[in-house]
């Protein structure tokens, strides 16, 4: 699991918050953990998509379908 404190510096704290806030209504606490209003507990974002785990798989599936669609476009 990755917490905001580990993301800070390399990729930017604000990006984590923006992503988490948009996807899961999460808020970062002073200790760097995120708390989701929906889950009411600390959450860790998917390390690849940086999204809430519940949304990550769906986003990945849509992304792959998007990649296939992009490739199909080039066949024209």
């Amino acid at each position: 699991m990755l917490w905001p404190t580990e993301l800070r510096g390399r990729n930017g704290y604000s990006y984590y918050l923006a992503c988490a806030g948009r996807r899961a209504g999460s808020k970062a606490r002073a200790d760097g953990r995120a708390r989701s209003r929906a889950i009411d507990g600390p959450i860790a974002l998917d390390p690849v998509t940086l999204m809430h785990p519940a949304h990550s798989q769906r986003a990945m599936a849509l992304g792959v379908l998007g990649a296939v669609a992009v490739g199909a476009l080039t066949a024209i």
Binding site: M1, L2, W3, E6, L7, R10, N11, Y15, P47, V48, T49, L50, A59, M60, A61, L62, G63, V64, L65, G66, A67, V68, A69, V70, G71, A72, L73, T74, A75, I76
Partner: protein
């Protein structure tokens, strides 16, 4: 050159009327000046230009089959490395069992799909150029995704891609013209001019998708989509030159399965530099 040039004109017009795109351009250059972003992040279009050049130089000799396999080979290897370093993603991604298996299966699938077109006596060194182009295309998709993140605009990233690509191809065209002369007339088939708008749509969509899927899945997915759409086109608009053969269908299905496998989460083989806890 026509595709890159017409795409650049379309994007320049879009940039002129779309203020967020211009702001994104300013942000991207400011980041480079401040040293927070490497300058070569803005040069992703050079990868696309290298692809076009390699197609022009070796395509006729190698044929579509060998050219495609060499490009996909380079692209797959490069994508695995890039995803692990984190250039394409927000974070470095681990090399997993499913990603390795999916990559290998995709290479097999593509080879099977185009196997009907293999043939001829080809010098091995000629495969190096499309292989290098494949390596460069993966880097292109990764850095374009980063430019989109920095600029906050897909239009900015797409514009920079076409700008740099057009510059590189223009230099190549000048060198080529100096040795063999310039063509005395433009192509008249209007279909050839569709490459620009399609390229704009491709790059514009890719810079969005790559941030979610990473470079490897974007590359494998787009190759699978290209093969599948080619079959559909050959069935819907059949020609005397191209026919759908069994190996093409089997190879395409293998490639689609490979994409699905590569997208599955699994055990980590090599983890990126950031450790989870």
């Amino acid at each position: 050159m026509i595709s890159f040039g017409s795409g650049l004109v379309i994007l320049a017009v879009a940039l002129a009327v779309w203020a967020p795109g211009r702001c994104g351009l300013a942000r991207a250059f400011a980041s480079v000046r401040a040293g927070t972003v490497p300058w070569w992040y803005l040069c992703g279009g050079a990868g696309g230009a290298l692809f076009v050049l390699s197609q022009g130089i070796t395509g006729a000799v190698l044929g579509v089959a060998l050219f495609t396999v060499a490009v996909v080979g380079g692209q797959t290897i490069s994508s695995l490395v890039i995803d692990r370093t984190g250039i394409g993603h927000a974070l470095p991604g681990a090399i997993t069992v499913t990603r390795l298996v999916g990559s290998a299966l995709a290479l097999v699938g593509v080879t099977v799909a185009v196997s009907a077109r293999f043939g001829g006596d080809i010098p091995a060194w000629m495969l190096l150029l499309p292989f290098a182009a494949g390596l460069a295309v993966a880097v292109q998709q990764a850095v374009n995704g980063q430019v989109r993140r920095i600029a906050g605009s897909a239009l900015t990233a797409t514009f920079m891609n076409f700008l740099v690509g057009t510059i590189v191809l223009s230099v190549a065209a000048v060198v080529h013209g100096a040795f063999v002369g310039v063509p005395d007339r433009w192509p008249t088939d209007p279909v050839l001019f569709l490459g620009g708008p399609i390229g704009v749509a491709f790059i514009g969509a890719a810079v969005r998708v790559v941030r979610i899927t990473g470079v490897l899945l974007l590359g494998l997915g787009s190759v699978a989509g290209q093969l599948a759409a080619s079959i559909v086109l050959d069935v819907v608009v059949p020609t005397t030159v191209r026919t759908v053969v069994t190996s093409t269908v089997i190879g395409t299905l293998l490639t689609l399965v490979a994409v699905a496998i590569a997208a599955l989460p699994s055990r980590t083989i090599a983890r990126g530099p950031i450790r989870a806890r």
